[in-house]
Symmetry: C2
Subunit: 416 residues, 2 copies
């Protein structure tokens, strides 16, 4: 019988990223936090930077904008060079992921005026699907929804079958929010380009967790959030990416003053800059931007290759332990088994997943529940140890063995 | 000759709001800050609340959302009841002012499908004008731009002349960003309603500075920012207001998961709640929301009536001093003279306003420059003393007398 604890300790001892754990605020060492893919931990340097930013507001007042005005672009350049494999000037911090998705989807459809179809998939993140539904209803577009395997993700073949010369835009999540499955960015992008469509990737679950080969895949457009694997805090601003050559020609629909040439001239007519800044809208949130800057820098420093490798190893370890300990209690893997096909989280299926998630919280383990019956276990590679995974799953096994999860009510199905 | 300093001291001694100054972080007592209408000061309690929120993130992690999820509505209710004269459930914090303006303008035009005209004015805030230009171009709407007196604001008669049964929406700023002129909210709203149009007010320069009679004026829609007179910090989230009876029927275009019924069921079809929450989109910024909550609470505690009265008195005092000291140096009032027609700032015209603004900064006074040739002096009523106005204008007089502003370069006109 495998000594999983000894294995975890060995893996931790060999972990090149282990020192990064000390960069994070970890006030409760008993807590096993397996939800960094919903909300990442607080970096110590971010806490310091936020305190400083608050004092900047208090002391510099409006003069602070002399420096803050370029923050969204600074973060964008760190993301482009250190996290997303894009070029400087192709990424900017702006709005929320949903608003950015709307802006770029409208821009993409406007760039293909003779086409009327948006392709997405049935397991895309809800906000993405709703955004597209709204666009379709309002603009008389058709939504072509590709069927996905909710455990294994979307296949290139399924996407290809949905493609023809009516398609203006293909938009998918790079890492599926439920299963963690990684879509084949290069192949899907190439297939979309073959029929003359644009692609728009949602990187929310992949930025900071896996390699995001925007440049080599020839990606047109992307959006993503910074509060998951980029550790920028609850509701931190999102980012958007537009490939350099597309920037001057794309027209996003929300014409705000932060996209305006010589913004403080307050000119009569909207005259957007040619750069990525034309996709900005209103005054950006300074505190959130500082947190995103710090989070992006730490990720870039650790290196996305090392992070992806450790994430895959944490996932592989979790799957091995789960196979041995949890399968006998009715848990089944609901993620791809191969590390190269998985993002920074692993999902387990169990009919009583909701009750287990409540029992785990009470036992000092924070997983995520995802409908209809899944426990999602996220592994923020910068601060999660193999022993944390061990401890979390040991507590889960103890709950399963004792049946204590049955003390928690079932999740009420929605009544409509 | 009036002893303006003695007068200032008397006015400060009689000021019921004077104790509120101690609620703010004021690290440099030499600095005269006259730009609180661009970025308000940092309240001490906000600094504390933000420090606490950062620790909440670090310690509670994802569990913090059990509490954070309602923050945008909590702030909305404080704004509705204590700042804006609206009802609970009619206001919510969301996105930026520009994005909110877009959402509500699209919703308004969709509610008047047989009409094709948006009425605004030529001195509306640039971002507002750009948003409408974008909508007009994209949707084949016509923009009818009312001519405004840039010193005295917009007249009800001028608006009325632009109205007919083609008008879907009238959208103006309640307090003009340049002159500080207050529009007649009740009369304009009534005139718009007479022709069957909806109204959408931008309250960015009025929320927290003057009374905003949404209820008694029967206003349909409004947006505004929290980082000016509401003191919520740089880039803090904006708010939007939709009158209760309009909420279920209006369709905003950006269908995000924060507007979805039973959001965490992650349902297949967008099914928005009937309440103000349907105008939310993506994950809201928690730090900004806490700052907005604290800023709104302080404003509500002081009372918007008292704030408006003090703001008018500060402005009247500034105008009186300016008439005596600055008019001889070529300064002219570029705001309404009557206190009831002015928001929380006073604007002075001078051909060398840009150079004066630079010289003032060097002398420890922070005004705002506004194109083409205006010095804007803002009076955050919660922390600005009459002696601050005295000191700021005394320094301005000294600069004018010595001609030291001529040492600064002229502002380069835009070359296109």
């Amino acid at each position: 019988m495998t000594d999983f604890l000894a294995r975890a300790r060995e893996l931790d001892a060999a972990d090149m990223l282990a020192p990064f754990r000390e960069r994070f605020v970890i006030p409760d060492e008993h807590l096993v936090y397996l939800d960094g893919n919903s909300l990442g931990r607080l970096p110590r340097s971010t806490r310091e930077r936020l305190h400083l930013a608050i004092e900047e507001w208090g002391g510099d007042l409006i003069r602070g904008w002399d420096r803050w005005i370029t923050l969204s672009r600074e973060v964008g350049d760190v993301l482009a060079g250190g996290v997303l494999e894009a070029e400087p000037g192709e990424v900017v911090l702006s709005d929320s992921t949903s608003v950015n998705l709307y802006k770029l989807a409208v821009a993409a459809c406007a760039a293909r005026p003779d086409r009327h179809v948006i392709v997405t998939d049935d397991d895309n993140f809800p906000s993405d699907r709703y955004i597209f539904q709204g666009l379709a209803e309002e603009r008389g577009l058709d939504l072509r929804v590709v069927k996905t395997d909710i455990d294994l993700g979307i296949s290139v073949e399924a996407v290809r079958e949905a493609l023809d010369e009516d398609v203006a835009l293909v938009s998918l999540s790079h890492v599926a929010y439920r299963s963690g499955a990684v879509a084949d960015m290069a192949a899907v992008t190439a297939a979309a380009h073959e029929v003359g469509a644009l692609v728009l990737w949602d990187l929310s679950h992949s930025a900071g967790a896996v390699r995001v080969p925007l440049r080599s895949a020839g990606v047109d457009l992307a959006v993503g959030c910074t509060y998951k694997h980029l550790n920028a805090g609850p509701g931190a601003p999102a980012f958007l990416y537009v490939r350099a050559d597309l920037q001057p020609e794309l027209r996003q629909p929300i014409w705000g003053w932060f996209g305006q040439r010589d913004q403080f001239d307050m000119g009569a007519e909207y005259d957007p800059v040619a750069s990525i800044d034309r996709f900005q809208v209103g005054t950006p949130p300074v505190l959130g931007a500082y947190a995103a800057l710090e989070g992006a820098r730490i990720t870039a420093e650790a290196g996305i290759g090392a992070i992806a490798e450790k994430g895959a190893a944490l996932g592989a370890y979790a799957i091995e332990v789960s196979d041995a300990w949890l399968a006998p209690h009715g848990f089944a893997l609901a993620s791809p088994r191969a590390g190269t096909r998985r993002g920074g989280h692993v999902t387990l299926h169990h009919p009583r997943a909701w009750q287990y998630s409540q029992a785990l919280r009470a036992a000092g383990v924070v997983p995520d529940f995802r409908t209809p019956d899944r426990l999602r276990l996220g592994f923020g590679a910068l601060y999660t140890r193999f022993v944390d995974v061990y401890t979390g799953l040991a507590r889960l096994r103890a709950i399963a063995a004792s049946g204590s999860h049955l003390d928690y009510p079932e999740r009420h199905a929605r009544v409509t």
